[in-house]
Amino acid sequence: MSLAPSRRPAWLNVLAGAAFLSVAIGAYLGLRVSPPDVNQGDLIRVMYAHVSVAWVSFLAVGVAALAGIAFLWRGRSRMDVISVAGAETALLYGALTIIGGMTYSKPTLNTFWTWDAKLTLTALMVALLAGVFIVRGLIDEPQRRGRVSAVILIVVLASLPLNYLAAEWFRTLHPAKAIDLTGGGVTIDGTMLTILLYNVVAAGLMFVWLLVERVRIGMREVEIDARRVQADEGSSEVVRV
C-alpha cells in the first residue's frame, strides 16, 4: 500500500508562503493604512482581525459539514478526514472570533461578554465543535465515529443562518452588520471595506493552507491505521494456522 507523501509537496510550501504573506499584508493594511474611525478611533483596527476570522469560521463549518454529509452518503474515510480537518480549523477560527470579539467589546461597549442571542449562538457553535472531538475520542469504530461527528457538524451548520441574522432579530450588544447580505447594503467607508475584504481573503487563504496540511496528515494516519489492521489480521491468521 502506498502511503500519502510524508514530505510536504512544493506547491504546499508555496501556499504556506502566500498565506503568511497575505496575512502580514492584511495586518499592515489594518494597522497602518486604514484611517481611524470617526467614532471608534483606532479601535476600528480590531474589527479587521475579528470580522475576517469570524467569516472564515463560518466557511470552515461549511466545509466540515459538507464533507460530513459526503461521508454519510458514501462512507469514504477521506471525507471524514476532510470533515475533521474542517472542524478543527473551524474550532480555531471560532475561538479566535470569540476572543477577538471580547477584545473589541471591552473598550467599545465596556463589557467582555453578554449572554445575548448572537454571542450565545457563537459560543454554542464553538462548544459543539469542541464536542465533536470529545465524542470522537469516545468512539473506537471509525465509521460510527465519522457518522456521529458528521451529524453534530450538520447541526452546527444549521445554526449558522440564525447566528448571522441574530444581530437583527434579537436585542444584542453586537453592532449591526456593516455589510448586509440580506439587502441592507454596505454602510462602511470604501477604504475600510477594501481592507476588510482583503483580510477576509487572507484569513481564508490561511484556512485553506491549514486545512490541506491537516488533511495530508490525517490521510497518512488513516493509511497507517489500515496497515496496522492489515498486519494484525495477517498475524492472527498465522496464529490460527
Binding site: 502511503l3 510524508s6 496575512v23 495586518a27 489594518g30 494597522l31 478611533g41 483606532d42 479601535l43 483596527r45 480590531v46 482581525a49 475579528h50 476570522v53 480549523t89 480555531l92 475561538a95 479566535l96 476572543i99 477577538g100 477584545t103 473589541y104 471591552k106 473598550p107 490561511m206 491549514l210 496540511e213 491537516r214 496528515i217 497518512r220 494516519e221 497507517i224 496497515r227 496496522r228 498486519a231
Partner: protein
Amino acid sequence: MRDACRPTREAARWCVFDSWNQWTWVTVAWLQLPLAFGAYLAYLAWRGRRAGREEDES
C-alpha cells in the same frame, strides 16, 4: 478613572483594563492571530512527527 477603580484590591482585579489605551487593545487583538496560528502549526508538526514515527515502525 472610574470611582469603582480606586486603588483597592478589588480594583486591581477588575479595573486593570482601564489603563489600556486603544493601541494596547489593537495590539492584543492582532497578537492573538500569530499566537493561535503558531500554536495550531506546532500541533500539526507534532502530529506529523508522530505519523512519521508510526510509519517507520510499521
